[in-house]
Amino acid sequence: MRDNLRMIFFVVILGMLLSAVIFAVNSLTAPRIAKNDESTMKRTILEAHAISYQEKDLETAFNQNIDVVKKGEKTYYVTKNKDIAFEFNGSGLWGPIRGVISLASDLLTIKKIMIIHQEETAGLGGRLAERKYLSGFENKKFMPTIEIVNRRRAEKDNEVDGITGATLTSKAFERLINAQVTSAVAAYRR
């Protein structure tokens, strides 16, 4: 009995001590982590709008070129000529996919898609995040939705080639991007 009490006591005390250490480390690093995430977002937005900038002028470049517009819960990053960009997220085949899409001022034409985070199979679905693949989306239009096509070349304005060997990732991404853009654009128009 005494032994059991001693054991529980030891584990609890040690757990509390280590929790205190983790708490201290977390409060020291949290502001920096939040700032890193914010900078990543700003970099991605600027790149999505194809605005060039110097790393040291990131803040100024962002503030000068981008208007941050909030509608409901969604944040939109609007340029001077009314092009918009916003964050999208949802599930891919294996894990969450998060990124930024920019649309021209007609709110139909894709300017650029950037992937910030994905967990698809490396070398197959993971190629989704490669510039070479994502550039296939540029200038395509949501009329009415984007379709990712397999087994033939994309021809129409709303068709994009799928990734060979990653049909399910392609399908998941098609579903995700259509749902997210449709609702975000509707909310923006309101």
Binding site: D3, R6, M7, F10, V11, L14, G15, L18, S19, V21, I22, V25, N26, T29, R32, I33, N36, T40, H117, E119, T121, A122, G123
Partner: protein
């Protein structure tokens, strides 16, 4: 000189270093830590980051456990290893996220996987619980380094052939076709098994005598 060298060969420190770095190598000989070895040996940058993070976690947990070894209730020791290991892994994770966000993003879930590595549990159970802080740290450091250099060798091979780069710098000629399979998990098995074959032969590991495996 020869006399001194001979004497050196019998010190405990020398035996620890020689064992961990070559003769009883945790990966080559123990076949431990496979999850991380297969998972993060695809790029040199990942291998270096995990190698350093892993060694840090191993050294501090070994020192902590060794310092407390006479206080730790025997029946609760495994849970105590887990608490200590996971705390330090969280610290490494936060540190990387704060100061090296690009590395943290590339490593993704693998930092958390350090917690489950059997090299850690093995060294704590087999060595740190029985030896003083100095030897435990030496043991932990050499085991960590042994793991790190193995990761480095595997990742140089895999990144060169799989991606045509070293540390993300293009090193192969333009006509080079990447062996994509080496960048993916199945490729890790090929490279690792050839590596194990070579190192085990050179270190004269006798599979029949591996009964004493540490962990």
């Amino acid at each position: 000189m020869g006399f001194q060298l001979k004497k050196l060969a019998y010190t405990k420190s020398y035996r620890i270093l020689r064992g961990n770095l070559w003769k009883d190598h945790p990966v080559s000989c123990g076949v431990l830590g496979m999850c991380l070895t297969l998972g993060v040996s695809n790029k040199v940058a990942n291998a270096i980051a995990i190698g350093i993070g892993f060694t840090f976690v191993l050294v501090v947990t070994a020192a902590t456990i060794s310092a407390m070894r006479n206080l730790i209730p025997k029946r609760a020791r495994v849970i105590i290893y887990m608490i200590v290991i996971s705390s330090f892994v969280i610290i490494v994770d936060r540190f990387l996220k704060a100061f090296f966000p690009a590395v943290a993003e590339a490593l993704g879930p693998y930092i958390g996987l350090i917690i489950t590595s059997c090299i850690l549990m093995g060294r704590l159970e087999e060595f740190s619980m029985k030896n003083n802080v100095y030897y435990s740290m030496l043991d932990a450091f050499s085991s960590g380094m042994a793991f790190a250099y193995t990761l480095l060798i595997l990742s140089v091979i895999r990144e060169f052939f799989g991606f045509g780069t070293i540390l993300d710098v293009k090193v192969t000629p333009a006509w080079w076709t990447n062996w994509v399979v080496l960048g993916m998990a199945p490729g890790a098995f090929f490279v690792l098994s050839i590596y194990l074959w070579i190192t085990r032969t050179l270190a004269k590991v006798d599979p029949q005598k591996l009964g004493h495996l540490h962990g």
